[in-house]
Amino acid sequence: MVGGMTMTVAERAALLSHVTLFAGLPEASLQALAELAGEAEFGDGDAIVLQGQVGTGLFVIVAGAARVVRGGEELDRLGPGDYLGELAVIDRMPRMASVFSVGPTTCLALASWDLFRRVDGDPELVHSLLRGLAMRVRHLSEHHSH
């Protein structure tokens, strides 16, 4: 993927089907998302999203890695199949953390306006987003109780 190679729509759809946020989406919905997704390349240390900025996109890592940083503290490491930027896309509030690429990194990027257009006519997509976020909330509360 790195080096300007372009994925086919089918390859993008296959990748998206393995992202927890889109798990269980019907083929047609995956296909539509794959058609909207663009590929974005980042060099080592580039900012994929910046804390405090209003989100304009959701990213799925195709190849490479990234680190999640808030206030100078590293919170998490991400790799292929992980997603980021979904909260700001849904509520259009400022990002809560920055994410920087570690080594050359390729992402699929979904623009918020495209995602919103899809959401309007695709209840299954909203359902899968709701499920994906419910999973995150549950993991957080489990971490807090231990």
Binding site: L129, M135, E142
Partner: protein
Amino acid sequence: MAGTEELIDELSDLALFADLARPELAGVAHTLEEEWYADGQRVLREGFSGTGFYILLEGEVAVRIEGQERARLRRGAFFGEAAILLGEPPGADVVAAGRVRVVHVAGPALHEFLMRHPNVMFRMLQEQTRRLRSANRWAR
């Protein structure tokens, strides 16, 4: 027990249903089942299956995890959807604090309910986002 018209009026005041016109709200009101709980009664049981999606209309509930109170919910709040969406038992007890009135959708009926009312689902998604932000840890 509120009459259907009264229930529609009540629902129309809630953020969850703010995008629905009255005919759709009427459809929602017909689907929902009303329940009362006495002080101290559990609406949801941590670790137990067979639950529903609840919307709080009157009173207050306490959210408890392993016996420890984590949050209080008031009129317009909803709960129980995560367990259904994830196919897992509830992650918390939800206990009536005083007399409580709720409406609910049974677990197996939730998917169809959400598909029929995507605007309600989108409001839930926004609330879920707010919860994640306030949990304020991995959220980004």
